[in-house]
Symmetry: C2
Subunit: 174 residues, 2 copies
């Protein structure tokens, strides 16, 4: 299964760290790519530096118009899941979503335009309480990949952690 993430509604500067977290979660939890609108260059740089050091082939694409990405995705036969506290229960949606081949996950910040709800094949709620699009994305990907993504290998990196009960053990790969 191929999962891409589309982050919309980024507001300059004040959202930088939240957007960086969202991108790193997308990568660590098995998505292949994130599209982001209006980000500061530092966000893309942080993510790209993580990819270089820790491996894998995650991609970041800065876009102008999120709607054209979403529309093209549907035209190509892909499925869109929009994460929102107003949507239907994630466990309910998961039964259908797990059978799909290409999923675009839309996450927003505080205000998400009406069109996102309409373009989505599934408006999915990770609980119906306000919390965080970072948490929602993590839980969504965790459910889609059934937790197996946490054991994934990220080939090509320079660093690798050796799990440890106390302290930090990092291997440098030469």
């Amino acid at each position: 299964m191929r999962v891409h993430v589309l982050r919309i509604g980024h507001r300059l500067v004040r959202d930088d760290r939240v957007t960086t977290h969202a991108a790193l979660v997308a990568r660590a939890f098995g998505a292949e790519k994130i599209y982001m609108t209006g980000i500061d260059q530092s966000v893309a740089e942080t993510v790209s530096s993580v990819c270089k050091r820790w491996g894998g082939s995650f991609e970041v694409e800065t876009i102008e118009d999120w709607k054209s990405i979403a529309k093209q995705w549907k035209k190509d036969g892909g499925t869109i899941a929009h994460l929102t506290m107003y949507g239907v229960n994630i466990d309910k949606a998961m039964k259908t979503l797990r059978t799909r081949k290409n999923i675009l996950v839309i996450i927003g910040s505080e205000k998400v335009p009406r069109e996102a709800y309409e373009l989505a094949d599934h408006n999915v709620a990770v609980g119906n309480q306000p919390h965080s699009e970072i948490a929602a994305l993590a839980i969504f990907l965790d459910r889609i990949f059934r937790g197996k993504q946490l054991g994934s290998e990220f080939p090509g990196g320079r660093l690798k952690i050796v799990p440890s009960e106390k302290g930090k053990v990092v291997q440098e790969i030469k």
Copy 2:
């Protein structure tokens, strides 16, 4: 089971939104309380306003010294789980942690002092890749409560969402 969250290493202003997300995730995913150091007053206000509108009895406590909270927790017989990418696999740790009655979950930002690793009974990795303490907290609580927290009721709120396939349906409770 009672779960409290301790957020350490908040750096003024630039971490405000991330800390707010962490607090909202703690609440929405079934923790009873979060302790935070050095936060801006706006963080506590945002969280408290969410609690008023959406219900439940989640607490925020601003603290000076995280170590004394952690030490007291252990003295009272509680267990400490520190979330870190350097730790042992979450599924491994979960077997023991699910049998515990009182868990203090420590989450940090970029640099976590050595003492956190030492005070922790379990250093738990939600995957060994860099991502986000917000995502790590969400997955940890999701595993502890086996996903059931997403269906929890939050009594006393003024607003309640009616899950919907398209759009936003919010009930006002009078």
